[in-house]
């Protein structure tokens, strides 16, 4: 049932913007591929092309090897959870979930059974008779999910499904989402701009920048070895510094170590001298900004605040944590 989705040099422009710039992407069957990128990079556009709401200017959309580029959305067999959820306000929860089944002219009994199953799957069996307007954000999200999976689509598309929930609920719903995707075994494409969400949920991550896929791979691989300076920056490698013999490298703030007077740096580390420029409290610790002798700014995190602006400081970079940028495009 799970299908492969392949985008073959898909290109789309809006007046003045190249929203998709020759996108090549394969979403493998039964796995969850996360599309990660900043606002406006073309994520929604890509999903709308896959779902068939937008006809790309060039390129092909292949579903299980068959060219679907010209198929209307209702014949693609794709379930989609919209950023706004797009729940039908004039129908009840059950009516929303049943919609796709009714369009397939399934017998009444089947519709009832499958709506029940879908609502059970998302834990909303007791809300069947209510209207979307009467539900909380998390409940709406689940209805949208139930509605999309109940048609047993070949592919499930999720457009920032958690972004309109508050932070705690969003984290809780991540587990739900993953469970539903695993249980249904669907090929899923999840759009998000939250890297933590992408890393936690996805089997594969594709990073999109200004309409281009700039990196695609397993979460660990993408996270440990960003392909470009831009990806490194986007994934939180905020510090760039030169290490003799290694050239320019990128390091995450939490990987920069702070040396107390008298401490020794570990063997495989590079040491940098600087002064403290700023100290900010961030709950679990402090964010400390340093200025190096060459005038670069480095950001590190520290559990305590024994430092005051102006104080001299020594930092070290474990070489295993430094991502070399030499030879990578910007």
């Amino acid at each position: 049932m799970a299908a492969v989705v392949r985008l073959d040099r898909v290109r789309h422009t809006f007046p003045g913007v190249v929203a998709l710039d020759d996108v090549e992407l394969t979403a493998p069957p039964g796995r969850l591929t996360a599309l990660l990128g900043p606002s406006g990079c073309g994520k929604t556009t890509l999903l709308r092309v896959v779902a068939g709401h937008l006809r790309p200017a060039a390129g092909r959309v292949l579903i299980d090897g068959r060219d679907a580029t010209a198929l209307p959305p209702e014949r693609r067999d794709i379930g989609m959870v919209f950023q706004s959820y797009a729940l039908f306000p004039h129908l009840t929860v059950a009516g929303n979930v049943a919609f796709g089944l009714r369009m397939r002219r399934l017998p009444r009994e089947t519709v009832r059974r499958r709506v029940g199953e879908a609502l059970d799957l998302v834990g909303l069996a007791d809300q069947a008779g209510r209207r979307p307007q009467e539900l909380s954000g998390g409940q709406r999200q689940r209805v949208a999910l139930a509605r999309a999976v109940t048609i047993r689509p070949a592919v499930l598309l999720l457009d920032e499904p958690l972004s309109s929930l508050d932070a705690r609920l969003a984290v809780q719903m991540r587990g739900e989402l993953r469970r539903v995707q695993r249980e249904t075994g669907l090929t899923a494409i999840l759009v998000t701009h939250d890297q933590e969400e992408a890393l936690e949920l996805a089997d594969e991550i594709a990073i999109l920048d200004r309409g281009r896929v700039v990196q695609h791979g397993a979460p660990q691989e993408v996270f440990r070895a960003p392909a470009t300076r831009w990806v490194a920056g986007f994934l939180g490698y905020e510090n760039v510094l030169d290490i003799p013999g290694k050239g320019p490298v990128a390091v995450r703030p939490e990987h920069l170590g702070l040396l107390r007077p008298g401490d020794e740096a570990p063997g495989d580390a590079h040491v940098v001298d600087g002064t403290v420029a700023d100290v900010r409290f961030r709950g679990t610790g402090y964010t400390i900004t340093f200025r190096t002798a060459e005038g670069r700014s480095l950001v590190a995190v520290s559990p305590d605040d024994g430092l005051a602006p102006g104080a001299p400081a020594r930092l070290y970079v474990p070489l295993s944590r430094a991502v070399g940028l030499e030879g990578r495009s910007t």
Binding site: G52, H53, L54, R55, P72, P73
Partner: protein, 275 residues
């Protein structure tokens, strides 16, 4: 993903009716006579216009009355619209419904009441004699003033409703900020709320002006034959004296005035808006 043919098919019937029952007839009437109607062409129309003093006097009266009515409607409607927009929700709904309710009534119904008030045996005339301010019953009808009063009552709801909409979009905190900076209630209104609401207010004013220029029932009933406006004159030429060339001339003049007012108003907010 719509097919172009579907779009065309949906558009076609509406466009066809618009062309046949609106664009063609109006163009023909304003610019060139249809075959079989002997009212001459545009040149005759302009000739009739130039020659007919009657038309020019009526036009002057129409514009004068409309301008006066617009001013009065703004004077009455702006405070009401503002007040409603700043009231608690419940009061807002009730007052707004009251203020715009008259728009549901025919102009005949709304103008009729002034016959009761302004007629020779009307309320006002009897009040004047009763108070000893007039010796004999006075006829207040069939004057320009009566028309102005009637039209002002007719169109004030339009200003209220558009002003309400405009003021509702100006956040009350802006006025509060002005007050905090030392502005009185009056100058907070004049210097903050009003300028921000101006584009919406202008829409209301244009509606009133255009409506007053083209109003027919009220000038007919309250102005009578002695104070013709362009509208009553057009009706006269078309239906009573059957002078089609003059009727077309008046129609052209009326249309031009209304369109010019609309065009002026459409340009104004763009100029007034801060960049």
């Amino acid at each position: 993903m719509w097919r172009r043919r579907t779009t065309g098919l949906l558009l076609a019937p509406g466009l066809a009716v618009l062309a046949l029952v609106f664009l063609y007839p109006v163009a023909v009437t304003l610019v060139a006579a249809p075959a079989g109607v002997d009212d001459g062409g545009l040149a005759d129309r302009l000739g009739a216009l130039a020659a007919d003093d009657h038309i020019w006097r009526a036009a002057a009266r129409t514009v004068r009355v409309a301008a006066l009515v617009t001013g009065l409607c703004l004077l009455l409607g702006l405070p009401v619209g503002f007040l409603i927009s700043r009231g608690p929700p419940r009061r807002r709904a009730v007052l707004l419904a009251l203020a715009v309710f008259p728009l549901l009534l025919s102009t005949v119904v709304r103008t009729y009441s002034w016959l009761v008030i302004l007629g020779r045996t009307g309320l006002l005339s009897r009040a004047l004699t009763g108070l000893g301010l007039a010796e004999r019953p006075t006829q207040l009808l069939y004057t320009e003033t009566a028309v102005v009063v009637g039209l002002t009552q007719l169109f004030t709801p339009l200003v209220i409703i558009t002003a309400y909409g405009a003021f509702a979009h100006v956040h009350p905190d802006l006025e509060a900020a002005a007050r905090g900076l030392g502005a009185s209630a009056g100058s907070a209104f004049r210097r903050v709320a009003l300028p921000l609401a101006l584009p919406g207010v202008l829409v209301g004013a244009t509606l009133v002006f255009a409506g007053a220029v083209t109003a027919f029932t009220t000038p007919l009933l309250l102005g009578g034959t002695r104070t013709p406006t362009l509208a009553t004159l057009l009706y006269d030429y078309a239906n009573v004296t059957v002078d089609w060339s003059s009727a077309a001339a008046v129609a052209l003049l009326m249309t031009v005035i209304v369109l010019a007012a609309g065009a002026l108003a459409a340009r104004a907010p763009a100029k007034a808006a801060p960049s």
